[in-house]
């Protein structure tokens, strides 16, 4: 399925133009920095540089934007690991194991693993794109409300009991998250829970709410600590240990592969994207891992699962955008706008007539993934110095940056207010032993589940037999029940075994 002559002219296109290269490293750096600022999302970083690309040629402009995309995809995981605050909504699952690793003095390894998983995830997803642009896009089009609902429920079930000790508290926290996630206009046009506040019409702003919830629960947890990492000799920043973290990725190729596949698939579905992909990949990895119980306490597999999925969703989203001209999310919408600004219309015709340019974009992303290893290592090296900062300086700085990020989202006080309201909620929840992460998962998945369920209901027109017309969804549900049943059976056997040997 690879069009070799076009690939050849793509190489010539890239090799013959300096312009196509000089923007890669600045783009990666811009992405890393903005992605690492809590509250500034991938699409915001891209929106910021979009006007500048007006003055470039088409190919350099797209390469610049995809470099920012790639950089920001990883940038978000730096604060996620170091402070437990995801820089973007795609790094939520990275906090689950990355942050405990950092607190235990293994921040070098965690960041190394995250970086390498990200780079390989980008590579893998663009490799898929290189071979299978069209089939992947066609597959995505086949996913309707029933299938989407089934996938979202799967994620919710797997993540429901996240991080908590008691199932009932986990369920309660997820329910709060779902309720908050459904504020605003639903897909049928009904307004719920806005209390007459126009700023809530589009729902509670997800990113400041998420940062508030997680930041508060993490930062208050640090009240008695003087440094992020307690033991002084662990506070070192060591290139060797970052590289050792990179090597960890190779010990779990299965985790990486699964994360990349989930990321590419979920990322390709319009309107879902990387913020769901990292959660699904994490949940699946935890379910299938033998040491599932150690997830959430600093298992590097959790970091690898999350990071490989959130970066590989870039390639998936690009497939939908290039092959169909449909933007899957904010980032690809901005890329399509950049296309339009250069008098290029994305979509089926573009990919047929400009195969060389499509290949040049893909090949450039291979190069970006490789360059990210180096730029990312330098960035991680610099960013890790914050573990040496005393917390009495670090925490106020983080709060100021988070507030600014929340303000930047809409340029109004609605962001910071949301941040503080949810910070208080996050503190209350963690004070009384409720898993804050479950609220975040509810917030991110709740809206998706509601929207798709409502559409499925509209499609059925009240007739439950409609689901029989959607075998894909039935298969997902059957797999879900089977795998859950199998896990429970295994669990039970293990417990019986433990009891017998005790």
């Amino acid at each position: 399925m690879i069009d070799l002559p076009a690939a050849g002219s793509a190489v010539a296109l890239l090799a013959g133009s300096l312009d196509a290269w000089i923007w890669v490293i600045p783009g990666l750096l811009i992405g890393l920095v903005f992605g690492a600022l809590p509250g500034v999302s991938v699409s915001m970083a891209m929106a910021l540089v979009l006007p500048a690309t007006l003055y470039m040629d088409f190919l350099p402009a797209i390469i610049f934007l995809t470099s920012v995309y790639t950089g920001a995809g990883f940038g978000g995981s730096v604060p996620a690991v170091l402070m437990g605050i995801p820089g973007t909504s795609s790094a939520v699952a990275t906090t689950f194991d990355g942050y405990p690793m950092a607190r235990a003095g293994r921040h070098n390894e965690a960041l190394g693993a995250a970086l390498f998983a990200s780079c390989l995830g980008v590579l893998a997803s663009y490799a898929v794109l290189f071979v299978l642009v069209q089939p992947l896009a066609e597959l995505v089009l086949m996913i309707g409300p029933y299938e989407m609902f089934a996938i979202a429920v799967w994620g919710m079930v797997l993540l429901g009991s996240l991080g908590g000790t008691s199932i009932s508290r986990g369920l309660f926290a997820s329910a709060i998250g779902v309720l908050i996630g459904t504020v605003g206009m639903n897909t049928a046009g009904y307004m719920r829970g806005t209390m007459g506040i126009p700023w809530l019409l589009d729902g509670v702003p997800t990113i400041p709410a998420m940062v508030g919830l997680l930041a508060a629960s993490q930062l208050f947890g640090l009240v008695n600590a003087t440094f992020l990492v307690e033991s002084e000799q662990d506070r070192k920043i060591s290139l060797g240990r970052i590289l050792a973290g990179c090597a960890l990725v190779f010990r779990y190729p299965g985790v990486l592969l699964r994360g990349s596949i989930i990321g590419a698939m979920v990322g390709a579905i319009p309107g879902v994207g990387s913020s769901i992909a990292n959660l699904l990949s994490y949940a699946e990895t935890r379910r299938t891992a033998k040491d599932g119980a150690s997830f959430g306490t600093g298992n590097p597999k959790g970091v690898i699962a999350s990071e490989s999925a959130n970066s590989s969703s870039e390639g998936g989203a690009m497939a939908t955008m290039l092959a169909l001209g449909i933007p899957g999310g904010g980032a690809t919408a901005i890329l399509l706008a950049a296309f339009a600004m250069h008098n290029v219309v994305g979509g089926p015709r573009f990919i047929d007539q400009n195969r060389d340019i499509v290949y040049a974009i893909i090949l450039s992303n291979f190069a970006q993934a490789v360059l990210l290893v180096f730029v990312g290592t330098a960035f991680v090296f610099a960013a890790s110095t914050i573990v040496r900062l005393p917390l009495r300086i670090l925490i106020p700085c983080v709060l100021v940056v988070a507030t600014m990020g929340a303000f930047a989202i809409e340029g109004s006080a609605a962001g910071p207010i949301t941040l503080y309201v949810f910070a208080v909620l996050g503190w209350l929840l963690s004070r009384f032993g409720y898993p804050v992460a479950a609220v975040v998962v509810g917030l991110l998945l709740g809206r998706l589940i509601e929207t798709e369920l409502l559409r499925a209901y509209q499609m059925a027109g009240g007739d439950w037999r409609e689901i029989l017309n959607h075998p894909g969804a039935l298969v997902i549900f059957a797999l879900m029940v089977l795998s859950l049943g199998f896990s429970m059976w295994k669990d039970r056997r293990r417990r019986l075994g433990d009891a017998a040997s005790a």
Partner: protein, 337 residues
């Protein structure tokens, strides 16, 4: 891809600037509007049609205003947040909106209890007119709108219909069904909030049998759909000319050919500003008119599939208020979405 090298050398540019400075009568220059940069406010996120239009127009508007023009996005609440922000700005003519005025301003007023009136806004020019398109995926067995009508008349549940709730498209769908005596409550209508994109994807993917969505977004996906009907009374050779018009379809079926035009996008200011500072408004209006008609601007915008027609304030305000009145008339339809 040819490179877009600047065609004006620095020396020429400096010369032009110096000439322009000399040409302006000195004592007046300090008070002459505009004497500082002008902002275009877009109540949508970066990358949509309005944003692209604003950014494409900015350099030409800047040329004709003699001041830099920047674009600011303030999305949210179906443009309500941007509208409220704009109403709080001083009437000094330094901020102008690029807006999908209809149907978004009427929608916020009729459905979201926005505390402003349709008449508070004044249209300078609304060059972009989008129309609702009824379309089906190319893989579907449906070929004409008459087949859709026949199938729905026989059994309203036989086809699924995709539409954005509380939108101009929804009013058109409701008028279409009511005209043919098809019970809307029995029809299977699947709603897609968050703009036209999701409804379009569902149509292309065949998850709904017929989608009723703004047609412009379908243009890049032309090969994957069959256009069935355009909700308009004028044929546009560049906008799915192969599909029948609603006006003709309605006439043939003896239905009132009423409909709501799709998005009407372009430059918008406040009526308050027009009335209080008419001299500044005149300067702004004429700069927008000259920019819109500037041959270079027309060429640049055409390349980006952006509209460049100059209708002027009179026709634009009429079209906008017409859309508002039709939507108000059918507000119950909208609310039942």
């Amino acid at each position: 891809m040819t490179s877009g090298k600047p065609t004006i050398s620095r020396r020429t540019a400096l010369g032009l600037a110096a000439g322009a400075a000399l040409a302006a009568p000195l004592p007046l220059r300090a008070q002459t509007y505009p004497d500082r940069p002008v902002t275009i406010l877009v109540p949508f996120a970066t990358g949509g049609y309005n944003d692209r239009y604003a950014r494409a127009m900015a350099p030409f508007l800047s040329r004709h205003l003699g001041q830099p023009v920047t674009v600011v996005n303030r999305p949210g609440g179906g443009t309500m947040l941007g509208n409220m922000f704009y109403l709080q700005q001083p009437d000094d003519g330094y901020m102008v909106m690029v807006h999908s005025a209809a149907p978004f301003i009427p929608q916020t007023i009729l459905l979201q209890n926005a505390q402003y009136k349709a008449e508070d806004f004044w249209m300078i020019n609304l060059p972009s007119r989008d129309a609702t398109l009824a379309a089906t995926a190319s893989s579907k067995p449906i070929n004409t709108i008459d087949e859709v009508v026949a199938a729905l008349k026989a059994n309203p549940r036989s086809l699924t219909l995709g539409v954005q709730p509380a939108s101009a498209d929804f009013v058109n769908l409701a008028l279409f069904l009511a005209g043919h005596g098809i019970d809307r409550n029995r029809a299977r209508i699947i709603t897609y909030a968050d703009g036209g994109g999701p409804a379009r994807t569902a149509t292309v993917g065949g998850h709904v049998d017929v989608g009723f969505v703004g047609g412009e977004g379908f243009l890049p996906l032309r090969e994957r759909i069959k256009p069935l009907m355009v909700f308009s009374d004028q044929r546009d050779p560049e906008f799915f000319p192969e599909a029948p018009l609603w006006a003709d379809h309605a006439k043939a079926a003896n239905i009132m050919p009423e409909f709501v035009e799709g998005s009407q996008r372009g430059f918008v200011v406040l009526r308050r500003f027009v009335e209080r500072v008419p001299d500044r408004y005149k300067i702004l209006e004429s700069a927008i008119e000259r920019a819109t008609k500037d041959p270079e601007c027309v060429a640049a915008l055409k390349g980006q599939q952006l509209a460049t027609t100059w209708y002027g304030p009179e026709a634009s305000n009429r079209a906008y208020l017409n859309a508002f009145n039709t939507m108000q008339k059918y507000v119950d339809l909208l609310k039942q979405a």
